[in-house]
């Protein structure tokens, strides 16, 4: 049986990808950011997940305003890095896991969560920057990745509770997949940041800290935060944090914190990262 053993959350700031790709990781500005991800790289090398489900949002790369799926699951064999205006990032093509992805899509729809199924999709920094932070710069990514895109660009995005419930349904779906697979789920985006208007640069460290604490202490409480509170307290793009709730929902209620990292700034954002592990059964 397949089983979700752990969840990871991380910001997906595009400038982090640019710093990596341009060899700037040793610069004083970037050093603390990359230092914060040394632990997870070693931890993942030990844990060796078979598949990763990566929850992210597309930033007007694969989806324009012509088509805006609230939840979309990538079922393709592979996903190419998107050209976001500077050419594609020089990172490996992402290999999917069509068999598990289709199984999850089918199970979710029958569980009354109406997914959009995607068979052709380029993946932008929302997906590739987290992979770079978790795995560094390998010739190929060490395991297949199932992209799960959440709309957080067009309001309204899904509610926090819907994201949390999606996570729970993903857990049920994975548990009903016959082959033995060690699965991890990654939630990305956030933490507090605002990219637009006179309020750009907004950062709220107390809110972010409470959110990190809440992932273990009170995830149900986090799932009830309304959109207006995210925008008010975490900045207009802090709404991305609803994607962390998909990850949290997919774990056991008593999942334990293994590691966390928080740093301000990376470009316009607060960088947050946490590892949560299910208890051994």
């Amino acid at each position: 049986m397949a089983d979700i053993v752990a969840g990871i959350a991380t910001s997906h700031v595009p400038a982090i990808g640019a710093a990596l790709d341009l060899g700037k990781t040793g610069e004083p500005y970037w050093q603390p950011v990359f230092k914060g991800y040394e632990f997870v790289k070693g931890w993942l090398a030990e844990q060796k997940p078979d598949v990763i489900i990566l929850v992210y949002n597309d930033h007007a790369s694969a989806f324009s305003l012509e088509l805006i799926p609230t939840f979309a699951i990538g079922c393709a064999e592979s996903f190419a890095p998107a050209d976001e205006g500077w050419g594609p990032r020089p990172v490996p093509v992402v290999q999917g896991h069509p068999e598990l992805a289709w199984h999850i899509a089918q199970a979710l729809i029958l569980d009354e969560i109406d997914m959009t199924i995607v068979n052709k999709m380029d993946v932008d920094h929302g997906l590739t920057v987290p992979l770079s932070l978790l795995f560094g710069q390998p010739q190929s990514w060490p395991c297949p990745v199932i992209p799960l895109a959440v709309n957080v660009v067009q309001y309204p995005p899904p509610t926090g509770n819907r994201c949390y419930q999606l996570g729970k349904a993903i857990r049920r779906a994975v548990a009903s997949f016959e082959p033995d697979l060690k699965v991890m789920i990654v939630g990305t985006g956030g933490m507090s940041h605002q990219l637009q208007g006179p309020r750009a640069g907004f950062i709220n460290t107390p809110f972010d800290t409470a959110f990190l604490d809440g992932l273990t202490r009170d995830p149900v409480g986090l799932s009830k935060i309304p959109h207006i509170e995210y925008v008010r307290e975490a900045g207009s793009e802090g709404i991305e944090l609803v994607m962390w709730l998909v990850m949290r929902g997919a774990l056991a209620d008593d999942a334990k914190e293994v590691h966390r990292f928080y740093h301000v700034p990376a470009s316009n954002s607060a960088v947050g990262h946490i590892i949560l592990q299910n208890p051994k059964e």
Binding site: H59, V153, G197, G201
Partner: protein, 131 residues
């Protein structure tokens, strides 16, 4: 306007990309989307006004693009992730665009971020600011 959308109006210095903004900004944003291709970026740079006429935008939207008035584009339905493609075409980073929208120099904005960013205090609510 729905109660849901109206509530966001209390947030200072922020335009939430809701149904109304998406509707009025559709062609502006789709123009931005066209800049995803290198030949389109070259065509735009060669004749900006002519290129903009290919899209059924309002004259005010076209003027805001030509002036690189990002706050003006946002007010007229532009979404920041789409508008960033204009910035990329001009060779500017997200941080550069953000500094422009705040009216700060890029250096001052960068220093504000290094010092911990813009504080939530006094920036949560227009009612709070006026009260």
């Amino acid at each position: 306007m729905s109660e849901y959308s109206k509530a966001f109006e209390d947030i200072p210095g922020t335009v939430v990309f809701d149904a109304t903004q998406s509707r009025i900004g559709y062609h502006l944003n789709m123009f931005c989307m066209s800049l995803m291709k290198a030949d389109a970026r070259a065509a735009f740079k060669a004749d900006e006004a002519g290129y903009l006429r290919r899209f059924p935008m309002t004259d005010a939207q076209r003027a805001a693009v030509l002036a690189r008035d990002y706050n003006g584009m946002i007010a007229q339905g532009g979404n920041i992730y789409f508008l960033a493609k204009i910035g990329a075409t001009d060779g500017f980073s997200f941080q550069n665009l953000a500094s422009k929208m705040t009216g700060m120099t890029e250096e001052a904005y960068r220093n504000m971020m290094i010092a911990g960013g813009r504080s939530p205090e006094g920036n949560r609510s227009k009612k709070e600011q006026n009260g």
